[in-house]
C-alpha cells in the first residue's frame, strides 16, 4: 500500500530526471543547479511531492570557477552546559580546513549562539578563528535578541554587506534584526525577550523575520549598477519566500525582495535557519536551504516546496545525524553546485518510509497556547 503510493509519486516526476547523465534513481548528496528547469517552476509554498532524485538546474553563469563553504546554526551553549554543539561545530570547521583546494571564503550563516550570550558568541568566534580563509558573517535571531546585536556587531561588524567576487555580485542580508517590538509594552527583561525569540513555535515574538524598507532600498541601490544577466548570490539567514510562517520559515516582506531580484536572471539564494534540506525556485531565483551543525528540524506538515527532494528521517539517538555543513561551487561549466556535507551516507530519502516528509500528510498540528496571556 505505502509502497504503491511511493511508486505512483515517483512515476509522476519522471520529466524532471536528468536523462543525459543517467541519474534516474541515483541520489547523491549533491545539488546540481541547471537552468533547464527554471521554466514553469513552482513559486512559493506548494505541497511536497517527494522527488526521488536530485535537483538539476543548469545555470549559464559566465563566472570564473570558485568554491566556498557554508556553516550555520551551531546554536552554541556555554561549554559548562553542554559540549555536543561545540563538538559538531569543530567537526565542520576541521572539514572546511581540510578542503583541497581551499574555498575562496566561508559564509557563517547565523545562529552561532543559542541565547545571544556573550560567552556563546565569544566561544563561536574563537572556534572559527582557526579557519584562515576570508570569512563573512550574517546574524541569526539567536545571536541578536539579548542585547539587540551589540556583542555580535562588536565581533563581526555590519550585519549586511556586499562585495564582488570573480564576476558574481554577492549580498549578505540581515533578515532578523527588524522584529516588531514585542517586549517593551510587556516590560520584558533581555533574557525574556531572547527566550521568546529562541522558541521556534512560540506565539509571542510574532512574524519577526523581515528585510525592512531601509534594507530593501539598500539592496536595490546595491544592484542598480549590476548587469541583469550577470550572477547574483544572496546569503540570508531566513528563506526569502513563504514556506511555513508559523515557525517563521520566511521573511514577511519576501514579495518586496522578489520584486527587487526579478529583473536579474541568475540569482541564487543560500539560507540557513530551517536546519534541513530544502530547494525552491521563485521566478528566476533559486533557493537552497542549508543544514545546521546543531540539530535538524522536521519538515512542517505543509508548505514544503515541491522542488525539494526531502532529506532522510533522522536518528534521535545519534546527535551527529541529520546535521552538517555545505560545500558550494560555481564551476567553469557555469554551474552552481551544492554538496550537503551531512554526516551520514544517505542524505536524500529514497523511499517514502525513510523520508523526513513521509508522515507529513498524516499530521495535523496546532499552535501552542501556554505562552499566551
Amino acid at each position: 500500500m505505502k509502497e504503491q503510493e511511493w511508486k505512483k509519486e515517483e512515476g509522476g516526476t519522471q520529466g524532471r530526471h536528468d536523462e543525459k547523465s543517467g541519474m534516474r534513481n541515483e541520489i547523491t548528496r549533491r545539488t546540481f543547479l541547471r537552468s533547464s528547469l527554471i521554466a514553469g517552476a513552482a513559486a512559493g509554498a506548494a505541497v511536497n511531492g517527494l522527488l526521488p532524485f536530485i535537483q538539476t538546474i543548469e545555470v549559464a553563469f559566465g563566472a570564473d570557477s570558485f568554491s566556498f563553504a557554508w556553516i550555520s546554526d551551531s546554536h552554541l551553549y556555554p561549554k559548562t552546559l553542554n559540549t555536543r554543539f561545540v563538538e559538531k561545530t569543530e567537526r565542520a570547521i576541521n572539514e572546511v580546513k581540510a578542503m583541497k583546494p581551499a574555498p575562496d571564503f566561508l559564509i557563517y550563516g547565523g545562529d552561532l549562539a543559542q541565547l545571544g550570550d556573550p560567552v556563546e558568541l565569544d566561544l563561536g568566534a574563537e572556534l572559527l578563528k582557526s579557519i584562515t580563509v576570508k570569512k563573512y558573517y550574517i546574524p541569526g535571531e539567536h545571536d541578536w535578541y539579548l542585547d539587540m546585536g551589540d556583542k555580535w556587531m562588536k565581533l563581526f561588524g555590519k550585519p549586511n554587506w556586499t562585495f564582488d567576487h570573480k564576476g558574481v555580485r554577492i549580498i549578505g542580508l540581515d533578515t532578523i534584526s527588524r522584529g516588531p517590538d514585542y517586549w517593551s509594552a510587556k516590560k520584558m527583561s533581555q533574557q525574556e525577550r531572547m527566550g521568546h525569540m529562541a522558541t521556534l513555535d512560540g506565539s509571542v515574538a510574532g512574524p519577526w523575520a523581515g528585510v525592512g524598507r531601509d534594507q530593501l532600498d539598500w539592496m536595490s541601490k546595491t544592484l542598480s549598477d549590476w548587469p541583469k544577466d550577470k550572477p547574483v548570490i544572496v546569503f540570508s539567514h531566513n528563506p526569502l519566500y513563504e514556506y511555513y510562517p508559523p515557525w517563521n520559515f520566511w521573511v514577511r516582506d519576501w514579495r518586496e525582495v522578489q520584486a527587487i531580484l526579478k529583473p536579474y536572471s541568475k540569482v541564487t539564494n543560500v539560507h540557513g535557519h530551517t536546519h534541513q534540506v530544502l530547494y525552491n525556485e521563485i521566478g528566476s531565483m533559486r533557493s537552497i536551504g542549508m543544514l545546521a551543525t546543531s540539530w535538524n528540524w522536521p519538515y512542517p506538515p505543509e508548505g514544503v516546496p515541491v522542488l525539494t527532494t526531502p532529506m532522510v528521517r533522522v536518528d534521535p539517538g545519534d546527535h551527529f545525524d541529520g546535521v552538517g555543513w555545505s560545500k558550494l561551487a560555481m564551476t567553469a561549466a557555469d554551474k552552481v553546485n551544492n554538496e550537503y556535507m551531512m554526516w551520514r551516507k544517505d542524505v536524500f530519502a529514497q523511499t517514502q518510509v525513510d523520508s523526513g516528509t513521509g508522515d507529513n500528510t498524516n499530521q495535523i498540528l496546532s499552535p501552542r497556547f501556554a505562552d499566551r496571556p
Partner: protein
C-alpha cells in the same frame, strides 16, 4: 486493544469524573450533563495540556514544581518537535526500532528523555507523563488514527 483505548482516553477527564462521582455518588451519567459540567471537564483537560506544553518547552518553574529533570543538554522537546511535530501520537502503539520492542507513546517519550535529552526517565503513570501525553495528543488532534504505522 484495551491499551490503545486507555491511551486515547483523556486521563484528566477520568479525574474530573471521579471528583464528580464522589460529590454526587451514583449520579454520574444518569443525570444530563449541564454546560458548566462539560466546561469543568474541559478545564481539567486543558490545564493538563498547559502543564504539558510548559514541560515540553522546558519551562524551569514547571519542571521544579513537577520535580522532573527532562533534559541535561539545555534542549527541550519543542526544540526538535515544534508544535509536537513528529511525535506521531496517532501511530502508537507500534514496534519501535530504537527500543527494539512493541512500544507505547509513553515508552517513546521516555526514550527521548533518556537518549537525546540525557534526562531522567519519568514514571509512566506520573502526573508529568500524563501532562506531556495530554499536550502531545492535543497538539496532534485531528490527525488520523493509524496505529502501527512506522
Amino acid at each position: 486493544m484495551k491499551r490503545t483505548l486507555l491511551y486515547l482516553a483523556v486521563p484528566a477527564l477520568c479525574l474530573a469524573l471521579f471528583i464528580l462521582l464522589s460529590a454526587t455518588p451514583g449520579m454520574a451519567h444518569k443525570a444530563k450533563h449541564a454546560p458548566e459540567q462539560l466546561k469543568a471537564f474541559d478545564d481539567v483537560f486543558m490545564e493538563q495540556v498547559r502543564i504539558g506544553d510548559l514541560l515540553f518547552h522546558g519551562d524551569a518553574a514547571t519542571e521544579k514544581k513537577m520535580k522532573t529533570k527532562l533534559s541535561r543538554t539545555g534542549m527541550a522537546c519543542a526544540m526538535c518537535h515544534p508544535f509536537a511535530v513528529d511525535n506521531h501520537p496517532h501511530e502508537f502503539p507500534k514496534f519501535q526500532e530504537q527500543i527494539n520492542k512493541f512500544s507505547t507513546l509513553r515508552d517513546m517519550i521516555n526514550w527521548c528523555i533518556e537518549k537525546p535529552n540525557e534526562g531522567e526517565k519519568l514514571d509512566p503513570d506520573s502526573d508529568a507523563m500524563k501532562a506531556l501525553e495530554a499536550y502531545i495528543y492535543w497538539s496532534n488532534r485531528g490527525s488520523k488514527l493509524d496505529p502501527g504505522r512506522h
